[in-house]
């Protein structure tokens, strides 16, 4: 069977959902092939074990094909894990399970290389580091950030709205905005207020990060009930602004979106140097094709890169987008840091709402502070989040408490609500040698048995020093918050993170990048990549709003060209 469309989308997640909305509103017909199910809010149920950190029952495809981890010298081969959660396979993608943080990147992030060299000289960037400026800047993306926030419903407080001047609120490092946030910030929470006080007294500028969770009723959806089962879980009420309940229903209502759920794309079809469609397999193993004038990959970083490799043909023997050997290079993975504090005798009230109720500082992010004498460049977000679910509470105890037995039981029952943590999102830089490649000898689980990716990755000195520096600041903060004791938790160094970016770098020069500023693959006409794979740098900020703003811009570009 063959079907025809203007655009075929591979994956209908955070990025694909936005693209579907923009393309269909411009009058194009879109066929979206989504490997997972198409579920409704009523299908979701709070359950820690079924969520992202354990069985991830809605991410079975992701689990069957997790990449292998190889040290750059090829020596070690280890299993990968996702310490900050596994990705989802369903209509809405991982926006179903995400915590909802929806921050814009800083203007500085788009000029990471120039700003570093301007401030600290060329020697501040190590020889193996491939840090780069983006081919787009904050000003070009601003309208798309605004449109995305207004479409999905983001709750936050602005610092600088154009024409109004800086306010005494919000994030002083956020770029100038065209307008206010569509919704006010989430309600304050006790631990966040405590963090904010401590941060202020240490000279930082705390603010509640904007989130894709409704602080009030919006566009036919109810405001958040603060049930507190959110991170790694899908929302039963439709209050989390996943694409399942925002962009996708709008696209569907146009009558121009066809959703092929439970179908998995296995190959991009190319005629000469032009993408002409995709091949997919349904749940019973039957193969079909969809022909389209444009193909967009929105299957998350790993699968986007893998499909480009596996769609190789005689004209593209090393994979699509790989004429200059750039595919898979410049891959970057976030390694989060956790520091916890013990506040004996207190109830920190962390069960009082979702992780999207948060408080953070950007004073230690990007180039927002002077790095002279520190031995590293760039930085990261430091934050606290609400939300404490039972198993997490039972496992997050001080290191000197045994993990079993009478002492364990006594301490847990008495003090579980007296422990709270800080989280940092450090910016890892891209390096030569850190890359995604196909491991032809290792097959994914399941009947298709396609080869897995291998992640070639090692941590470098800049990251080690940055992490040590941030952990020190976090320990200071917990002390300032009044912790009787604090410690650095170990999330473990690993190479999957839910903030996995790069591998199909965007750039102007086809010799050093894979896609252009619109996500168009340099060496294949009508083939686009959506998602973090295109990021030249990781930044110290959550990726999804930028992924969605770029998807909007790509879709508008494609619609305009038709």
């Amino acid at each position: 069977m063959r079907e025809e469309a203007d655009v075929v989308l591979v994956g209908l997640g955070a990025a694909g959902g936005i693209a579907a909305h923009v393309l269909t509103s411009a009058g194009l017909t879109v066929h979206a092939v989504e490997a997972g199910e198409w579920l409704r809010n009523e299908d979701f149920r709070a359950d820690e074990i079924n969520g992202s950190f354990y069985d991830n029952i809605r991410g079975q495809k992701f689990r069957r094909e997790t990449p292998n981890w190889v040290h750059p010298d090829g020596s070690t081969q280890r299993a990968t894990a996702s310490p900050i959660g596994q990705m989802v396979n369903a209509v809405g993608g991982s926006s179903l399970h995400f915590a909802g943080w929806s921050r814009r990147f800083q203007a500085d992030d788009f000029r990471a290389r120039s700003n570093t060299i301007d401030a600290y000289g060329a020697r501040a960037v190590s020889e193996d580091c491939t840090i780069a400026d983006w081919p787009v800047g904050y000003d070009e993306l601003e309208p798309y950030y605004t449109k995305t926030e207004n479409l999905i419903g983001v709750s936050g407080v602005a610092h600088h709205v154009a024409g109004l001047g800086p306010a005494d609120a919000g994030n002083p490092f956020e770029g100038v905005r065209a307008g206010q946030y569509p919704l006010p910030p989430m309600r304050p929470f006790a631990f966040g207020e405590r963090f904010a006080d401590a941060a202020k007294s240490l000279g930082y500028h705390p603010y509640p990060p904007p989130v894709a969770i409704l602080s009030d009723d919006f566009d036919g959806r109810p405001g958040c009930s603060y049930c507190g089962w959110c991170l790694g879980q899908a929302c039963r009420y439709g209050s989390k602004s996943s694409t399942l309940v925002t962009a996708i229903p709008k696209a569907f209502a146009t009558g121009r979106l066809v959703i092929h759920s439970n179908k998995r794309v296995t190959r991009v079809l190319v005629d000469g140097d032009r993408a002409v469609g995709v091949r997919y397999v349904d749940a019973e193993g039957h193969e079909s094709m969809i022909e389209a004038r444009t193909v967009m990959l929105g299957a998350y970083t790993f699968e986007n890169i893998r499909l480009l490799f596996l769609s190789r043909d005689g004209r593209h023997p090393d994979g699509l987008g790989n004429r200059y050997g750039q595919l898979g290079r410049n891959f970057i993975c976030r390694q989060a840091i956790e520091v916890s504090g013990f506040f004996p005798g207190e109830d920190l009230q962390l069960v009082d709402g979702p992780a999207g109720q948060a408080m953070c500082v950007d004073d230690l992010n990007g180039d927002n502070f002077d790095h002279r004498g520190l031995g590293f460049v760039r930085g990261g977000t430091v934050a606290v989040e609400n939300e404490l679910t039972p198993i997490r509470a039972a496992k997050t105890l001080p290191p000197w408490i045994p993990r079993w037995g009478r002492e364990y039981k006594k301490f847990l029952l008495r003090h579980w609500s007296a422990i709270g943590g800080l989280r940092a999102m450090p910016e890892a830089l891209p390096y030569r040698g850190n890359a995604l490649e196909v491991d032809w000898s290792s097959k994914e689980d399941g009947p298709l048995g396609l080869p897995r990716l291998a992640v070639r990755y090692s941590m470098r000195d800049n990251e080690r020093r940055m992490r040590a520096f941030l952990a020190e600041r976090m320990l200071e903060l917990t002390r300032e918050m009044g912790a009787a004791a604090s410690w650095r938790g170990d999330l473990g160094f690993n190479v999957l993170s839910a903030h996995d970016v790069g591998g199909a770098r965007m750039g102007r020069d086809p010799v050093t990048s894979v896609v252009d500023e619109f996500g168009r693959v340099h060496d294949v006409v009508d083939l686009y990549v959506l998602g973090g794979a295109t990021f030249p740098t990781a930044t110290g900020i959550n990726p999804t709003l930028t992924i969605q703003a770029l998807a909007w811009r790509t879709a508008e570009h494609v619609a305009g060209g038709k």
Partner: protein
Amino acid sequence: MEKSLRPFLESIADRVFPPDELGPGGCDIGAAEYVRRRLAGPRSADRLAVAALQDHLDASAREHWGAPFCDVGAPHQERLIEAILADDAQADVETVATLRLLIDMTVEGLFADPGHGGNRNEAGWRLLAGMAYPPRAR
């Protein structure tokens, strides 16, 4: 035929979370049943390692007290568990890792959604007084 892991998992559940004046133990809360289901389902890959751990603990218990692990009583069981965990450097890595994993799973069985076999009648959640469970809209 493979012998049942059930009595072993029950002993472990009560050592990880002993019944005492603070409340029910791991076995009554259903943690062993949770682990049993995990090892029969999503974590079946670990089943052999857990069986090997049981053999290891049974052998040690027999050597010292002439009875299998399940029958030597709580204080002896504790000593055997402690010995493995304290002796990180000497014990074989596999045994330590499996024991840690088993303890971790047992803890999950205290506080996971009751649908997974543990946390019977939400007994685990009720011990964490002040937690607003079962989850509900507010």
